[in-house]
Amino acid sequence: MISYRSVTKRFADGTVAVQDFSLDVPRGTLTVLAGSSGCGKTTLMRMVNRMVDPSSGQVLVDGEDVAGRDPVALRRRIGYVMQNSGLLPHRTVAQNIATVPRLNGVDRRAARRRTGEMMELVGLDAKLADRYPAQLSGGQQQRVGVARGLAADPDILLMDEPFGAVDPLVRSELQRQLRQLHGQIGTTILFVTHDMDEALALGDQIVLLRAGADIAQQGTPREFVAEPANDFVRTFLGLDRGQRTLHRERAADGSIVVVDAHGRPAGVLAEPDGRPDDGAHPGAAADGGPRPGIQDAPGA
Protein backbone atom coordinates (compact mmCIF):
# COMPACT_ATOMS: atom_id res chain seq x y z
CA MET A 1 0.00 0.00 0.00
CA ILE A 2 1.34 3.37 -1.08
CA SER A 3 -0.24 6.60 0.13
CA TYR A 4 0.42 10.13 -1.03
CA ARG A 5 -0.64 12.72 1.55
CA SER A 6 -0.93 16.26 0.16
CA VAL A 7 2.35 15.95 -1.65
CA THR A 8 3.89 18.96 -3.40
CA LYS A 9 7.14 19.05 -5.32
CA ARG A 10 8.80 22.28 -6.31
CA PHE A 11 12.12 21.81 -8.12
CA ALA A 12 15.13 24.02 -7.53
CA ASP A 13 14.36 26.01 -10.69
CA GLY A 14 10.88 26.84 -9.42
CA THR A 15 8.92 24.33 -11.51
CA VAL A 16 6.02 22.99 -9.50
CA ALA A 17 5.79 19.47 -10.86
CA VAL A 18 3.32 18.18 -8.30
CA GLN A 19 0.83 20.27 -6.34
CA ASP A 20 -1.04 18.99 -3.29
CA PHE A 21 -1.46 15.44 -4.56
CA SER A 22 -3.17 12.73 -2.52
CA LEU A 23 -3.78 9.14 -3.53
CA ASP A 24 -3.99 5.64 -2.11
CA VAL A 25 -2.60 2.75 -4.11
CA PRO A 26 -4.12 -0.39 -2.59
CA ARG A 27 -1.85 -3.35 -1.95
CA GLY A 28 -1.72 -5.85 -4.78
CA THR A 29 -3.33 -3.65 -7.41
CA LEU A 30 -1.97 -2.37 -10.67
CA THR A 31 -2.53 1.38 -10.63
CA VAL A 32 -1.83 3.40 -13.73
CA LEU A 33 -0.79 7.05 -13.63
CA ALA A 34 -1.71 8.50 -17.01
CA GLY A 35 -1.42 11.97 -18.46
CA SER A 36 0.48 13.78 -21.12
CA SER A 37 4.12 14.72 -21.11
CA GLY A 38 5.36 16.79 -18.19
CA CYS A 39 2.30 16.41 -15.98
CA GLY A 40 4.37 15.00 -13.13
CA LYS A 41 3.98 11.25 -13.47
CA THR A 42 7.63 10.38 -13.18
CA THR A 43 8.08 12.80 -10.30
CA LEU A 44 5.25 11.11 -8.39
CA MET A 45 6.66 7.67 -9.04
CA ARG A 46 10.15 8.61 -7.94
CA MET A 47 8.88 9.89 -4.62
CA VAL A 48 8.07 6.32 -3.65
CA ASN A 49 11.70 5.17 -3.76
CA ARG A 50 13.07 8.57 -2.72
CA MET A 51 14.71 9.37 -6.03
CA VAL A 52 12.79 12.60 -5.50
CA ASP A 53 11.90 13.94 -2.07
CA PRO A 54 8.64 15.89 -1.74
CA SER A 55 8.86 19.59 -0.86
CA SER A 56 5.89 19.11 1.45
CA GLY A 57 3.48 16.35 2.29
CA GLN A 58 4.27 12.71 2.87
CA VAL A 59 4.61 9.50 0.96
CA LEU A 60 3.80 6.43 3.04
CA VAL A 61 4.63 2.85 2.22
CA ASP A 62 2.68 0.44 4.39
CA GLY A 63 1.82 3.32 6.66
CA GLU A 64 5.40 4.42 7.23
CA ASP A 65 6.77 7.71 5.87
CA VAL A 66 9.54 6.92 3.40
CA ALA A 67 11.32 10.13 4.45
CA GLY A 68 12.47 8.27 7.53
CA ARG A 69 13.96 5.35 5.62
CA ASP A 70 17.43 4.91 4.23
CA PRO A 71 17.11 5.54 0.49
CA VAL A 72 19.52 2.81 -0.55
CA ALA A 73 17.83 0.14 1.55
CA LEU A 74 14.39 1.38 0.47
CA ARG A 75 15.28 1.17 -3.21
CA ARG A 76 16.44 -2.40 -2.86
CA ARG A 77 12.97 -3.32 -1.62
CA ILE A 78 11.23 -1.57 -4.51
CA GLY A 79 11.56 -2.73 -8.10
CA TYR A 80 11.92 -0.09 -10.80
CA VAL A 81 11.45 -0.59 -14.52
CA MET A 82 11.96 2.29 -16.88
CA GLN A 83 11.53 3.23 -20.51
CA ASN A 84 14.37 1.94 -22.69
CA SER A 85 14.76 -0.64 -19.96
CA GLY A 86 17.57 1.30 -18.19
CA LEU A 87 19.73 -1.78 -18.33
CA LEU A 88 23.37 -1.36 -17.43
CA PRO A 89 24.98 -1.64 -20.85
CA HIS A 90 28.21 -3.07 -19.47
CA ARG A 91 26.58 -5.98 -17.68
CA THR A 92 25.24 -9.14 -19.22
CA VAL A 93 21.60 -10.02 -19.04
CA ALA A 94 22.24 -12.34 -16.09
CA GLN A 95 24.32 -9.74 -14.29
CA ASN A 96 21.67 -7.12 -14.82
CA ILE A 97 18.93 -9.29 -13.44
CA ALA A 98 21.05 -10.30 -10.48
CA THR A 99 21.96 -6.71 -9.60
CA VAL A 100 19.81 -6.21 -6.54
CA PRO A 101 20.23 -9.70 -5.07
CA ARG A 102 23.99 -9.25 -5.46
CA LEU A 103 23.85 -5.81 -3.83
CA ASN A 104 21.93 -7.44 -1.01
CA GLY A 105 24.78 -9.89 -0.55
CA VAL A 106 23.18 -12.96 -2.09
CA ASP A 107 25.97 -15.26 -3.23
CA ARG A 108 26.82 -15.77 -6.88
CA ARG A 109 25.31 -19.27 -7.04
CA ALA A 110 21.98 -18.32 -5.52
CA ALA A 111 21.80 -15.15 -7.62
CA ARG A 112 22.39 -17.18 -10.74
CA ARG A 113 19.58 -19.54 -9.80
CA ARG A 114 17.25 -16.62 -9.16
CA THR A 115 18.21 -15.14 -12.52
CA GLY A 116 17.16 -18.33 -14.22
CA GLU A 117 13.79 -18.29 -12.50
CA MET A 118 13.20 -14.67 -13.39
CA MET A 119 14.09 -15.19 -17.04
CA GLU A 120 11.63 -18.02 -17.21
CA LEU A 121 8.97 -15.93 -15.50
CA VAL A 122 9.18 -13.14 -18.06
CA GLY A 123 9.56 -15.54 -20.96
CA LEU A 124 13.22 -15.03 -21.84
CA ASP A 125 15.24 -17.79 -23.42
CA ALA A 126 17.95 -18.98 -20.99
CA LYS A 127 20.46 -18.79 -23.84
CA LEU A 128 20.33 -15.01 -23.68
CA ALA A 129 21.79 -14.93 -20.17
CA ASP A 130 25.31 -14.05 -21.26
CA ARG A 131 24.45 -11.48 -23.89
CA TYR A 132 24.87 -7.78 -23.40
CA PRO A 133 21.79 -5.54 -23.60
CA ALA A 134 22.94 -4.13 -26.96
CA GLN A 135 22.64 -7.64 -28.37
CA LEU A 136 18.93 -7.89 -27.54
CA SER A 137 15.84 -6.62 -29.31
CA GLY A 138 13.85 -3.82 -27.69
CA GLY A 139 11.20 -6.21 -26.44
CA GLN A 140 13.77 -8.56 -24.95
CA GLN A 141 15.44 -5.65 -23.20
CA GLN A 142 12.15 -4.64 -21.61
CA ARG A 143 11.65 -8.18 -20.39
CA VAL A 144 15.07 -8.13 -18.80
CA GLY A 145 14.11 -4.82 -17.18
CA VAL A 146 11.00 -6.40 -15.71
CA ALA A 147 12.94 -9.46 -14.58
CA ARG A 148 15.48 -7.23 -12.88
CA GLY A 149 12.73 -5.25 -11.18
CA LEU A 150 11.26 -8.44 -9.79
CA ALA A 151 14.44 -10.31 -8.93
CA ALA A 152 14.64 -9.21 -5.32
CA ASP A 153 10.99 -10.15 -4.83
CA PRO A 154 9.93 -6.58 -4.06
CA ASP A 155 6.64 -5.60 -2.46
CA ILE A 156 6.26 -2.75 -4.88
CA LEU A 157 7.12 -2.50 -8.56
CA LEU A 158 7.41 0.94 -10.16
CA MET A 159 7.13 0.96 -13.96
CA ASP A 160 7.80 4.20 -15.81
CA GLU A 161 6.54 3.94 -19.39
CA PRO A 162 8.23 0.57 -19.61
CA PHE A 163 6.79 -0.27 -23.01
CA GLY A 164 6.98 3.18 -24.58
CA ALA A 165 9.82 2.41 -26.93
CA VAL A 166 8.87 -0.96 -28.38
CA ASP A 167 7.10 -2.07 -31.50
CA PRO A 168 3.28 -2.07 -31.12
CA LEU A 169 3.12 -5.82 -31.74
CA VAL A 170 5.67 -6.51 -29.05
CA ARG A 171 4.11 -3.91 -26.82
CA SER A 172 0.72 -5.57 -26.72
CA GLU A 173 2.40 -8.91 -26.07
CA LEU A 174 4.29 -7.37 -23.16
CA GLN A 175 1.09 -5.85 -21.82
CA ARG A 176 -0.62 -9.23 -21.97
CA GLN A 177 2.28 -10.83 -20.13
CA LEU A 178 2.33 -8.13 -17.49
CA ARG A 179 -1.36 -8.68 -16.69
CA GLN A 180 -0.73 -12.39 -16.43
CA LEU A 181 2.35 -11.87 -14.28
CA HIS A 182 0.50 -9.52 -11.99
CA GLY A 183 -2.18 -12.14 -11.54
CA GLN A 184 0.54 -14.63 -10.59
CA ILE A 185 2.66 -12.60 -8.19
CA GLY A 186 0.28 -10.03 -6.81
CA THR A 187 2.92 -7.35 -6.33
CA THR A 188 1.64 -3.79 -5.96
CA ILE A 189 2.42 -2.14 -9.28
CA LEU A 190 2.48 1.58 -9.99
CA PHE A 191 2.57 2.04 -13.75
CA VAL A 192 3.15 5.26 -15.67
CA THR A 193 2.08 5.79 -19.27
CA HIS A 194 0.91 8.55 -21.52
CA ASP A 195 -0.92 6.13 -23.73
CA MET A 196 -4.57 5.89 -22.73
CA ASP A 197 -5.03 2.63 -24.63
CA GLU A 198 -2.32 1.11 -22.48
CA ALA A 199 -3.88 2.52 -19.33
CA LEU A 200 -7.25 1.05 -20.25
CA ALA A 201 -5.69 -2.29 -21.07
CA LEU A 202 -3.69 -2.66 -17.87
CA GLY A 203 -5.08 -0.74 -14.95
CA ASP A 204 -7.15 -2.01 -12.06
CA GLN A 205 -7.31 1.66 -11.26
CA ILE A 206 -6.42 4.58 -13.54
CA VAL A 207 -5.43 8.04 -12.31
CA LEU A 208 -5.51 10.58 -15.12
CA LEU A 209 -3.46 13.67 -14.39
CA ARG A 210 -3.34 17.20 -15.71
CA ALA A 211 -0.30 19.47 -15.40
CA GLY A 212 0.95 19.68 -11.82
CA ALA A 213 -0.33 16.17 -11.11
CA ASP A 214 -3.84 17.52 -10.73
CA ILE A 215 -6.19 14.49 -10.77
CA ALA A 216 -8.68 14.80 -13.63
CA GLN A 217 -10.35 11.48 -12.92
CA GLN A 218 -9.66 8.38 -10.92
CA GLY A 219 -11.46 5.09 -11.48
CA THR A 220 -11.62 1.77 -13.28
CA PRO A 221 -11.12 1.57 -17.05
CA ARG A 222 -14.79 0.99 -17.50
CA GLU A 223 -15.75 4.06 -15.52
CA PHE A 224 -13.42 6.09 -17.70
CA VAL A 225 -15.02 5.04 -20.95
CA ALA A 226 -18.57 5.06 -19.76
CA GLU A 227 -18.52 8.07 -17.50
CA PRO A 228 -15.70 10.44 -18.35
CA ALA A 229 -15.72 13.04 -15.61
CA ASN A 230 -15.13 16.09 -17.78
CA ASP A 231 -14.06 17.41 -21.15
CA PHE A 232 -10.38 16.96 -20.41
CA VAL A 233 -10.92 13.25 -19.83
CA ARG A 234 -13.10 13.00 -22.94
CA THR A 235 -10.41 14.69 -25.02
CA PHE A 236 -7.72 12.49 -23.60
CA LEU A 237 -9.75 9.38 -24.36
CA GLY A 238 -10.41 10.63 -27.87
CA LEU A 239 -14.14 10.64 -27.18
CA ASP A 240 -14.69 14.19 -28.34
CA ARG A 241 -13.24 13.41 -31.73
CA GLY A 242 -15.59 10.52 -32.00
CA GLN A 243 -12.75 8.03 -31.79
CA ARG A 244 -14.53 6.09 -29.10
CA THR A 245 -18.05 6.68 -30.30
CA LEU A 246 -18.63 3.71 -32.50
CA HIS A 247 -21.06 2.77 -35.24
CA ARG A 248 -21.98 -0.57 -36.64
CA GLU A 249 -21.56 -1.21 -40.30
CA ARG A 250 -22.08 -4.44 -42.17
CA ALA A 251 -19.03 -5.66 -44.01
CA ALA A 252 -19.01 -7.48 -47.33
CA ASP A 253 -18.93 -10.88 -45.67
CA GLY A 254 -21.93 -10.05 -43.59
CA SER A 255 -20.13 -9.54 -40.31
CA ILE A 256 -20.71 -6.38 -38.34
CA VAL A 257 -17.78 -3.99 -38.36
CA VAL A 258 -17.67 -1.35 -35.66
CA VAL A 259 -16.24 1.93 -36.96
CA ASP A 260 -15.50 5.21 -35.27
CA ALA A 261 -16.68 8.60 -36.41
CA HIS A 262 -13.96 8.80 -39.05
CA GLY A 263 -14.94 5.48 -40.53
CA ARG A 264 -11.83 3.92 -39.06
CA PRO A 265 -12.69 0.33 -38.18
CA ALA A 266 -12.31 -0.50 -34.47
CA GLY A 267 -13.13 -4.19 -34.78
CA VAL A 268 -15.71 -6.81 -35.54
CA LEU A 269 -18.68 -7.14 -33.24
CA ALA A 270 -19.04 -10.57 -31.72
CA GLU A 271 -21.35 -12.39 -29.41
CA PRO A 272 -19.86 -13.29 -26.00
CA ASP A 273 -19.21 -16.82 -27.23
CA GLY A 274 -16.85 -15.47 -29.82
CA ARG A 275 -18.95 -15.93 -32.93
CA PRO A 276 -19.37 -12.82 -35.05
CA ASP A 277 -22.45 -10.90 -34.09
CA ASP A 278 -25.24 -11.21 -36.61
CA GLY A 279 -26.78 -8.06 -35.22
CA ALA A 280 -29.74 -9.91 -33.73
CA HIS A 281 -28.99 -9.68 -30.02
CA PRO A 282 -28.47 -6.12 -29.00
CA GLY A 283 -27.68 -5.46 -25.39
CA ALA A 284 -26.43 -8.95 -24.72
CA ALA A 285 -23.84 -9.26 -21.97
CA ALA A 286 -24.46 -5.72 -20.92
CA ASP A 287 -23.82 -4.24 -17.47
CA GLY A 288 -20.20 -4.42 -16.37
CA GLY A 289 -19.03 -7.81 -17.61
CA PRO A 290 -16.41 -10.00 -16.01
CA ARG A 291 -12.84 -8.82 -15.29
CA PRO A 292 -10.27 -9.67 -17.85
CA GLY A 293 -8.42 -12.85 -17.17
CA ILE A 294 -11.41 -14.38 -15.44
CA GLN A 295 -13.58 -14.71 -18.52
CA ASP A 296 -12.27 -17.07 -21.14
CA ALA A 297 -11.40 -14.60 -23.81
CA PRO A 298 -12.60 -15.62 -27.26
CA GLY A 299 -9.75 -16.37 -29.58
CA ALA A 300 -7.20 -16.06 -26.76
Binding site: R75, G86, P89, H90, R91, L103, Y132, A134
Partner: protein, 214 residues
Protein backbone atom coordinates in the same frame (compact mmCIF):
# COMPACT_ATOMS: atom_id res chain seq x y z
CA UNK B 1 72.05 1.36 -40.58
CA UNK B 2 75.52 0.42 -39.43
CA UNK B 3 75.10 2.81 -36.59
CA UNK B 4 72.08 0.90 -35.34
CA UNK B 5 73.82 -2.47 -35.45
CA UNK B 6 76.90 -1.10 -33.73
CA UNK B 7 74.93 0.48 -30.91
CA UNK B 8 72.25 -2.04 -30.05
CA UNK B 9 73.05 -2.10 -26.32
CA UNK B 10 72.96 1.68 -26.17
CA UNK B 11 69.62 1.74 -28.00
CA UNK B 12 68.21 -0.89 -25.65
CA UNK B 13 69.37 1.16 -22.68
CA UNK B 14 67.77 4.33 -23.98
CA UNK B 15 64.53 2.54 -24.82
CA UNK B 16 64.36 1.05 -21.39
CA UNK B 17 65.01 4.41 -19.73
CA UNK B 18 62.36 5.92 -21.95
CA UNK B 19 59.76 3.40 -20.84
CA UNK B 20 60.79 3.69 -17.22
CA UNK B 21 60.09 7.42 -17.41
CA UNK B 22 56.95 7.51 -19.50
CA UNK B 23 55.01 4.54 -18.13
CA UNK B 24 54.88 5.81 -14.54
CA UNK B 25 53.86 9.23 -15.84
CA UNK B 26 51.00 7.76 -17.86
CA UNK B 27 49.82 5.71 -14.93
CA UNK B 28 50.08 8.62 -12.51
CA UNK B 29 48.17 10.86 -14.92
CA UNK B 30 45.34 8.34 -15.01
CA UNK B 31 45.20 7.98 -11.25
CA UNK B 32 45.18 11.73 -10.68
CA UNK B 33 42.78 12.58 -13.48
CA UNK B 34 39.97 10.35 -12.30
CA UNK B 35 39.20 12.26 -9.09
CA UNK B 36 39.87 15.62 -10.75
CA UNK B 37 37.66 14.74 -13.68
CA UNK B 38 35.00 13.60 -11.28
CA UNK B 39 35.13 16.94 -9.49
CA UNK B 40 34.80 18.80 -12.78
CA UNK B 41 31.90 16.56 -13.76
CA UNK B 42 30.15 16.64 -10.41
CA UNK B 43 30.45 20.30 -9.48
CA UNK B 44 29.53 22.70 -12.24
CA UNK B 45 31.40 25.58 -10.57
CA UNK B 46 34.63 23.62 -10.66
CA UNK B 47 34.11 22.59 -14.25
CA UNK B 48 35.40 25.79 -15.84
CA UNK B 49 38.43 26.34 -13.60
CA UNK B 50 39.58 22.72 -13.64
CA UNK B 51 39.24 22.27 -17.38
CA UNK B 52 40.65 25.66 -18.35
CA UNK B 53 43.47 25.24 -15.86
CA UNK B 54 44.24 21.85 -17.29
CA UNK B 55 44.15 23.25 -20.81
CA UNK B 56 46.57 26.02 -19.95
CA UNK B 57 48.96 23.64 -18.31
CA UNK B 58 49.42 22.26 -21.76
CA UNK B 59 50.54 25.68 -22.94
CA UNK B 60 53.54 25.76 -20.61
CA UNK B 61 56.65 25.12 -22.67
CA UNK B 62 58.15 21.84 -21.55
CA UNK B 63 61.78 22.89 -21.31
CA UNK B 64 61.36 25.57 -18.62
CA UNK B 65 58.94 23.31 -16.81
CA UNK B 66 61.60 20.64 -16.60
CA UNK B 67 63.93 23.22 -15.10
CA UNK B 68 61.52 24.96 -12.74
CA UNK B 69 59.95 21.82 -11.36
CA UNK B 70 62.97 20.73 -9.32
CA UNK B 71 62.85 24.07 -7.53
CA UNK B 72 59.19 23.64 -6.79
CA UNK B 73 59.25 20.01 -5.70
CA UNK B 74 62.75 19.92 -4.28
CA UNK B 75 64.30 17.22 -6.38
CA UNK B 76 67.59 17.22 -8.22
CA UNK B 77 67.57 18.49 -11.77
CA UNK B 78 68.64 15.18 -13.20
CA UNK B 79 66.25 13.22 -11.09
CA UNK B 80 63.94 11.16 -13.27
CA UNK B 81 61.18 12.17 -10.87
CA UNK B 82 61.18 15.67 -12.41
CA UNK B 83 60.43 14.40 -15.84
CA UNK B 84 57.88 11.95 -14.53
CA UNK B 85 56.14 14.75 -12.65
CA UNK B 86 56.25 17.10 -15.63
CA UNK B 87 54.93 14.44 -17.97
CA UNK B 88 52.26 13.57 -15.45
CA UNK B 89 51.15 17.19 -15.39
CA UNK B 90 50.83 17.25 -19.16
CA UNK B 91 49.01 13.94 -19.07
CA UNK B 92 46.59 15.20 -16.44
CA UNK B 93 46.01 18.31 -18.54
CA UNK B 94 44.71 16.14 -21.35
CA UNK B 95 43.06 13.40 -19.38
CA UNK B 96 40.98 15.41 -16.92
CA UNK B 97 38.83 16.56 -19.77
CA UNK B 98 38.37 13.03 -21.04
CA UNK B 99 37.36 11.81 -17.62
CA UNK B 100 34.90 14.68 -17.18
CA UNK B 101 33.53 14.16 -20.70
CA UNK B 102 33.29 10.43 -20.13
CA UNK B 103 31.39 10.85 -16.90
CA UNK B 104 29.17 13.50 -18.47
CA UNK B 105 28.43 11.03 -21.22
CA UNK B 106 27.26 8.21 -18.98
CA UNK B 107 23.70 7.60 -20.15
CA UNK B 108 21.40 9.21 -17.60
CA UNK B 109 19.09 6.20 -17.84
CA UNK B 110 21.87 3.88 -16.72
CA UNK B 111 22.84 6.20 -13.90
CA UNK B 112 19.19 6.63 -12.89
CA UNK B 113 18.67 2.89 -13.05
CA UNK B 114 21.66 2.31 -10.78
CA UNK B 115 20.28 4.79 -8.25
CA UNK B 116 16.85 3.20 -8.44
CA UNK B 117 18.32 -0.24 -7.90
CA UNK B 118 19.84 0.91 -4.65
CA UNK B 119 23.55 1.26 -5.45
CA UNK B 120 25.44 3.08 -2.70
CA UNK B 121 27.18 6.17 -4.17
CA UNK B 122 30.80 5.02 -4.13
CA UNK B 123 29.96 1.60 -5.46
CA UNK B 124 27.87 3.19 -8.16
CA UNK B 125 30.76 5.41 -9.18
CA UNK B 126 33.22 2.55 -9.29
CA UNK B 127 31.06 -0.11 -10.88
CA UNK B 128 28.67 1.86 -13.07
CA UNK B 129 29.81 5.40 -13.86
CA UNK B 130 33.50 4.69 -14.25
CA UNK B 131 33.17 1.62 -16.50
CA UNK B 132 30.59 3.38 -18.65
CA UNK B 133 32.89 6.38 -18.98
CA UNK B 134 35.60 3.86 -19.83
CA UNK B 135 35.59 4.11 -23.61
CA UNK B 136 35.95 7.91 -23.55
CA UNK B 137 38.61 7.76 -20.84
CA UNK B 138 40.41 5.11 -22.83
CA UNK B 139 40.51 7.23 -25.94
CA UNK B 140 41.89 10.09 -23.86
CA UNK B 141 44.41 7.77 -22.29
CA UNK B 142 45.56 6.65 -25.72
CA UNK B 143 46.29 10.24 -26.69
CA UNK B 144 48.07 10.77 -23.39
CA UNK B 145 50.15 7.63 -23.82
CA UNK B 146 51.23 8.59 -27.30
CA UNK B 147 52.06 12.19 -26.49
CA UNK B 148 53.80 11.30 -23.23
CA UNK B 149 56.09 8.89 -25.01
CA UNK B 150 56.76 11.59 -27.58
CA UNK B 151 57.23 14.39 -25.05
CA UNK B 152 59.52 12.30 -22.87
CA UNK B 153 62.34 12.94 -25.33
CA UNK B 154 62.56 16.62 -24.36
CA UNK B 155 64.18 15.64 -21.08
CA UNK B 156 67.25 14.77 -23.10
CA UNK B 157 68.09 18.45 -23.40
CA UNK B 158 68.84 18.29 -19.69
CA UNK B 159 70.60 14.98 -19.99
CA UNK B 160 67.83 12.87 -18.57
CA UNK B 161 68.15 9.51 -20.29
CA UNK B 162 65.56 8.61 -22.90
CA UNK B 163 65.48 8.03 -26.61
CA UNK B 164 65.79 11.81 -26.82
CA UNK B 165 69.51 11.47 -26.09
CA UNK B 166 69.79 9.95 -29.54
CA UNK B 167 68.54 13.25 -30.96
CA UNK B 168 70.92 15.49 -29.03
CA UNK B 169 73.90 13.23 -29.56
CA UNK B 170 73.06 12.54 -33.19
CA UNK B 171 72.54 16.24 -33.74
CA UNK B 172 75.96 17.17 -32.32
CA UNK B 173 77.73 14.48 -34.23
CA UNK B 174 75.67 14.93 -37.36
CA UNK B 175 74.58 11.30 -37.44
CA UNK B 176 71.23 11.18 -39.22
CA UNK B 177 70.85 7.46 -38.56
CA UNK B 178 70.99 8.08 -34.83
CA UNK B 179 68.28 10.75 -34.95
CA UNK B 180 66.14 8.63 -37.24
CA UNK B 181 66.52 5.65 -34.96
CA UNK B 182 65.33 7.81 -32.07
CA UNK B 183 62.34 9.04 -34.01
CA UNK B 184 61.35 5.63 -35.30
CA UNK B 185 61.72 3.98 -31.91
CA UNK B 186 59.72 6.71 -30.21
CA UNK B 187 56.91 6.34 -32.71
CA UNK B 188 57.02 2.56 -32.52
CA UNK B 189 56.98 2.67 -28.74
CA UNK B 190 54.08 5.11 -28.73
CA UNK B 191 52.04 3.16 -31.21
CA UNK B 192 52.78 -0.15 -29.51
CA UNK B 193 51.58 1.31 -26.24
CA UNK B 194 48.51 2.61 -28.05
CA UNK B 195 47.76 -0.85 -29.41
CA UNK B 196 48.31 -2.37 -26.01
CA UNK B 197 45.79 0.02 -24.51
CA UNK B 198 43.26 -0.87 -27.20
CA UNK B 199 43.68 -4.55 -26.45
CA UNK B 200 43.51 -4.01 -22.69
CA UNK B 201 40.43 -1.87 -23.22
CA UNK B 202 38.77 -4.63 -25.16
CA UNK B 203 39.51 -7.14 -22.44
CA UNK B 204 38.33 -4.82 -19.69
CA UNK B 205 35.23 -3.63 -21.51
CA UNK B 206 33.81 -6.62 -23.36
CA UNK B 207 30.43 -4.96 -23.80
CA UNK B 208 31.83 -2.35 -26.16
CA UNK B 209 32.34 -5.04 -28.76
CA UNK B 210 28.75 -6.17 -28.31
CA UNK B 211 27.58 -2.60 -28.87
CA UNK B 212 29.71 -2.19 -31.96
CA UNK B 213 28.34 -5.40 -33.39
CA UNK B 214 24.73 -4.65 -32.61
Amino acid sequence: MNWVLDNLPLIADRTWAHLATSLPAILAALVISVPLGWLAHRYRILNGPVLTGAGLMYAIPSLPLFIVLPVLIGTGVRDVVNVVVALTLYGVALLVRSVADGLDGVPPEARGAAVALGYPPLRRFLTVDLPLAGPVILSGLRVVAVSTVSLCTVGAVLGIPSLGLLFTDGFQRGILAEILTGIVLTVVLALALDRLLVVLGRLAMPWTRAEAGA
